[in-house]
């Protein structure tokens, strides 16, 4: 597949933004500036980037506890994301959600989810809405290898398949569910193999190769958009950081992580490929990096300077007060 200069730059910008954003969050968390706990997407950037490059603003996604990458790739505002993670009132959820619950409904990002496997059927429902309304919107559900053992996975895939709904189920197999290697809990070698049980295509792709992800997702999204029904796409990837910031990582060796980092980091893979093919230069890459770092500094600055929610905001946003008058946004 041929990629334009613009596409290549966009891929790198998105992946690098996710990487830097997450590294920044890591530091801020360790410095005690971020409350709660955070799950980082470092190492999995190619998945969100490659999939989302096939989506329109009006398409839907549902995300997970490890949702910053999906949110950034869908086009969210870094300032409002950062402010939310800080618990500030200028954040996406006015400080009510935090890292695990960022959403941006204006770009079809229907929310991260603190419940593993909580997003499957929200995506199915959004796709059902698209079908009932006769639009050509697509819903993409991101989930982990661990989530594929929830009953909601089975129920959601079956429902989407039998109703031929425009959904793409994207499994981010990062090898672990928290401390547990997926092979010790999962009955199949490839989670994509489970697709056969629902009569839909199951596709395995190298989740550390943004080009491969892009192509596989393109086929799945196209199939969904044109009425062909759902696809189960499994991206084999690796979680480079701990399950959460502060994870002592007693379940794997440092060597395993180092080896991966050396040989199969999606950002390094990308650089190697574009540099070898002389498609982007070191200078062009560095330019993107500098811009991104500046944006992230601005986001941190914005979050730091933003006020916390006022006490009277505690009860706000629970119920819609005005009834039907408020319909249709």
């Amino acid at each position: 597949m041929e990629f334009s200069q613009e596409q290549l730059e966009a891929f790198y910008r998105t992946m690098y933004t996710i990487r830097s954003f997450e590294e920044k969050i890591n530091d801020l968390f360790l410095a005690g500036e971020i409350p709660g706990f955070v799950h980082l997407y470092i190492g999995e950037e190619a998945v969100a980037t490659g999939v989302m490059a096939n989506l329109r603003k009006t398409d839907y996604i549902t995300s997970t506890h490890r949702g910053h990458g999906h949110t950034i790739a869908k086009g969210a505002d870094l300032k409002r994301m950062m402010a939310e993670i800080f618990g500030k009132r200028t954040g996406y959820c006015r400080g009510k959600g935090g890292s695990m619950h960022i959403a941006d409904f204006s770009i079809g990002m229907l929310g991260a989810n603190g419940v593993v496997g909580g997003g499957f059927n929200l995506a199915v429902g959004a796709a059902l809405a698209a079908k009932l309304m006769g639009t050509d919107q697509v819903a993409v559900c991101f989930f982990g290898d661990g989530a594929s053992n929830r009953g909601t996975f089975h129920e959601g895939l079956n429902m989407a398949a039998v109703w031929k709904l425009p959904v793409v189920f994207v499994c981010e197999n990062n090898q672990y569910a928290s401390t547990t290697p997926y092979r010790t809990t999962t009955s199949v070698e490839n989670i994509a193999d489970r697709a056969i049980g629902y009569g839909i295509p199951g596709v395995v792709v190298d989740g550390n190769d943004v080009f491969a992800v892009y192509e596989a997702a393109q086929a799945a999204v196209e199939r969904a958009r044109s009425g062909g029904g759902p696809t189960l796409l499994e991206a084999k990837t690796y979680r480079i950081k701990g399950h959460f910031v502060g994870d002592p990582e007693l379940y794997r060796t440092r060597q395993e992580v180092e080896e991966h980092l050396e040989n199969d980091d999606p950002l390094k893979n990308f650089r190697r490929q574009v540099l070898a093919a002389s498609r982007l230069s070191e200078r062009e890459l560095a330019e993107i990096e500098a811009q991104v770092r500046e944006e992230i500094e601005e986001a941190v600055d914005f979050a730091r300077k933003s006020p916390f929610p006022a006490p009277e905001e505690l009860f706000e946003d629970l119920y819609v007060e005005s009834g039907e008058a408020a319909c249709g946004k």
Binding site: G97, H101, G111, G125, A126, A129, L132, M133, Y319
Partner: protein
């Protein structure tokens, strides 16, 4: 006024709302081809098609979850739980997703969705097909909970629930589906959050709802024969609770009994009693009494089932203990 059944009243409400708003659709198990176990959906798919009135797989998490997803994407789903007992299978969807999504996301979205759930013990359906579980949802901020006792309220509350922008749980007692009663023609809404004083009296307030309301009314008749005038309140909505109506009545009668079919322990009666005790205790001339099902699963045998359910005599006895 014309008389129709409770089931027909809910059907009218559905049809009118689906006519009025193309975003309203209905899904659940055995609702389209069968027309619902209690016939409460008969004719709707013929009118609106099998897309808008859809039979689902037996997948409660997907049914409720997809309802929420569709609501987030701009639809106004009405989802049928088949039996309230099966809502247990979708508790994550109801409690962690449907109820919290709006708040958690800082008011960016809304979940205009109705979850309909037939409840109550009827004809020896035994422990897993007979419960009344409304109290669980009183405990979860973000939901509204309505529970009609007659055909008119069934229609008016269902229409109001469908038009509400919040997630609403709509509990409908299985034995009420065949009950006939007057229902106004055409557009008729019952506001959510408003209780109804169904019978006035000066000596005791009996707060009730759903099928037990009718037992409370019969108990009031019996008590009247003995010179005790009971005021009977039909809550109709249990979240948000119409404290104003309850308090006004308690102020007058100085005595309070709450009666419902759900288990007495931790039931809605406990909540109403607590609220009145907290805010109105100075007006009370005696203890508050709760009447509800005994603390045991619902038994199958017709010899046992009635023993665990609250009966008219139990309500009469509770009133006499405090009056």
């Amino acid at each position: 006024m014309r008389e129709i059944t409770f089931a027909e009243a809910t059907m009218e409400a559905m049809a009118e709302e689906m006519e009025r708003d193309s975003r309203v659709f209905l899904m659940g198990e055995d609702i389209a081809r069968q027309g619902g176990i209690f016939g409460q959906f008969k004719g709707l798919p013929q009118k609106f098609g099998f897309d808008r009135v859809r039979d689902t797989p037996i997948s409660e998490t997907a049914i409720v979850g997809a309802g929420i997803g569709a609501a987030l994407a701009g639809m106004r789903p009405v989802v049928d739980m088949h039996f309230v007992d099966f809502i247990t299978v979708a508790m994550d969807e109801v409690v962690n997703q449907m109820a919290k999504i709006r708040y958690m996301f800082g008011g960016q979205c809304k979940v205009p969705m109705v979850l309909r759930a037939p409840d109550g013990a009827a004809r020896s359906a035994a422990a897993q097909h007979s419960q009344s579980l409304e109290a669980w949802f009183v405990h979860v901020p973000g939901l509204k909970v309505v529970i009609p006792s007659n055909p008119a309220d069934a229609k008016g509350l269902l229409k109001a629930a469908i038009r509400d922008d919040n997630p609403v749980l709509y509990f409908e007692n299985k034995d009420l589906f065949r009950m006939k009663g007057p229902v106004p023609d055409g557009e008729f809404l019952v506001p959510i959050g408003k209780a109804n004083v169904v019978r006035e009296g000066r000596d005791v307030t009996i707060v009730s709802y759903s099928i037990t309301l009718h037992k409370a009314l019969k108990a009031a008749d019996k008590l009247a024969e003995e010179g005790i005038e009971a005021e009977v309140i039909d809550l109709r909505t249990i979240v948000p609770l119409d404290k104003e109506t309850i308090f006004a009545s308690v102020k007058k009668t100085k005595h309070l009994v709450i009666a419902h079919e759900a288990t007495k322990n931790g039931g809605v009666g406990s909540e109403v009693a607590a609220v009145v005790a907290e805010e109105m205790i100075d007006y009370l001339d005696g203890p508050i009494k709760r009447v509800g099902a005994k603390f045991v699963p619902i038994p199958f045998s017709p010899a046992l089932e009635p023993l665990m359910l609250p009966q008219i005599e139990d309500i009469v006895a509770a009133v006499k203990e405090i009056c």
